[in-house]
């Protein structure tokens, strides 16, 4: 008990001695605690949230602009161009289609087809392309025409090499030409949400119109095609009539 009163007395003396500075120190410490643990974090949070709001508004504006831009794109024209692009560069190795196109170019050039060889060996058949070797007979100018006409074919066909052997009598030449045909299997490209709307450049527009000139036939019902999914559209664009599914019925 006496010990308690003694310590209380000591405390009273201490308070009496330092009462002028105890309160300022206590309030200063309290202020510091409030500043460090409340005001500074709150201020930082406020500034962070303000930045976040600005960023969100920017994102919202850009997304709105993107949606508006996408709405303005002509759906039918895009689908039509896709059809052409998928005809020129199919999604799968369509050998009958390639043969049909090559045969057509040979006929146009005034050559006669002697032989066709399709190689599926690992060395020639790589992912994305395959090779057909054709052997044709005709005049040298016809071969020249063939090479020119091949450039205008509705498929990408690349001449790998040319081997010409002239016949002793007359001006006929037998030419062996390995031709590489291309396809690209990745169908759908999906862009990120914040990615800007892809724009078709003038150069690509020019390429598109040159491709359109190369593709002689496209279905007339483009409006109907506009309602198709990509997979359906692809199969429709690259299909060649091969006859009945079941020839016996």
């Amino acid at each position: 008990m006496s010990k308690n009163s003694e310590s209380l007395e000591k405390l009273r003396v201490f308070y009496q001695k330092y009462k002028l500075i105890i309160w300022p120190i206590a309030s200063g410490v309290a202020c510091l605690i409030i500043i460090i643990f409340v005001l500074v974090p709150q201020l930082a949070e406020y500034l962070g949230a303000k930045k976040q709001i600005v960023d969100l508004q920017k994102r919202s504006d850009s997304l709105e602009a993107k949606a508006e831009e996408l709405e303005q794109i002509d759906d039918v024209s895009v689908k039509h161009n896709l059809q052409i692009a998928f005809t020129v560069l199919p999604a799968s190795p369509d050998i009958p289609q390639v043969m049909t196109v090559i045969q057509d170019v040979i006929n146009k050039s005034g050559l006669s087809l002697k032989n066709t060889n399709y190689s599926t060996s690992v060395s020639t058949f790589t992912k994305g392309d395959f090779e057909l070797t054709i052997s044709v007979l005709g005049s040298l100018s016809s071969v020249r025409n063939f090479l020119i006409n091949l450039k205008e074919a509705p498929l990408i066909l690349q001449v790998e090499a040319i081997k010409a052997r002239f016949q002793r009598e007359g001006s006929m030449v037998e030419v062996e030409i390995p031709i590489r045909a291309f396809y690209e299997s990745n169908l759908n490209a999906i862009g990120a949400l914040d990615q800007p709307v892809p724009k078709i450049s003038d150069e690509e527009e020019q390429l598109m119109s040159s491709l359109a000139a190369r593709v002689p036939f496209l279905p007339n019902n483009i409006e109907e095609m506009a309602g198709l999914s990509d997979a359906e559209q692809e199969s429709s664009a690259s299909s060649v009539p091969l006859g009945k599914i079941d020839p016996f019925n």
């Binding site: 005001l39 090479l147 690349q158 949400l193 078709i200």
Partner: protein
């Protein structure tokens, strides 16, 4: 007791004034008035100390109140900002849904663009081979007979000729060397074996290296 009222000159009385009276004057009494403070100096000191303490306490409380005010202001700002943030987030979600609704259109456009890029990169890969072959066909004089010709992947062409006239060979080589006629396609022409048989027919091979 007011001394001035007794008719005495203050200047004469000043030196006789007690120090506590001077202190009293310093504590805000009018200059022309003088007062006598009979309180003991300890009490005056105590009063002075308690006045100081009260000022210090008031200042401390005021600073604490200011802090409390700032804290509550910050909290109020946070609350109002939260609703603003929520609104912005809702706007973004709406815009995202709008764009997602047009995803197919965007995907088609992107597919078209990528396919055009692929087509562009694949087109014209064989133009050098074709151009070299077509150019040789054009530049070969009529009286030169081509036996065989081959163009490899790199556009290198090997061509064998038969000719009865040296002037035709000269014309061909001149044509091949002329930059205007060869469309600046040829880097080098190598003559690979020249022979003449009994019938005075020249046989020779040319190896044409494109640029």
């Amino acid at each position: 007791m007011d001394i001035n009222k007794q008719g005495l000159a203050s200047a004469k009385l000043k030196p006789k004034l007690a120090p506590e009276m001077i202190a009293g004057n310093k504590q805000g009494l009018p200059a022309n008035k003088m007062s006598i403070n009979l309180l003991p100096p300890e009490m005056l000191y105590q009063r002075h100390q308690s006045f100081k303490l009260s000022v210090v306490n008031k200042l401390s409380i005021a600073s604490l109140l200011v802090m409390v005010f700032f804290t509550s202001a910050a909290l109020a700002m946070k609350v109002s900002q939260k609703s603003e943030l929520q609104k912005s987030q809702n706007d973004v979600v709406l815009a995202e849904n709008k764009v997602s609704g047009l995803k197919i259109k965007e995907s088609q456009l992107l597919t078209l663009k990528e396919r055009l890029k692929s087509i562009k990169s694949l087109m014209g890969g064989d133009s050098k081979r074709k151009a070299v072959f077509n150019m040789i066909v054009l530049l070969t004089p009529e009286n030169l007979q081509v036996i065989d010709a081959s163009v490899d992947k790199n556009g290198y062409m090997t061509i064998g000729f038969n000719s009865t006239s040296v002037s035709a060979i000269e014309a061909l080589i001149q044509n091949l060397g002329d930059k205007e006629k060869n469309s600046n396609l040829i880097a080098r022409v190598e003559l690979d074996g020249l022979s003449m048989d009994k019938a005075r027919i020249f046989r020779f091979n040319l190896r044409i290296v494109p640029k």
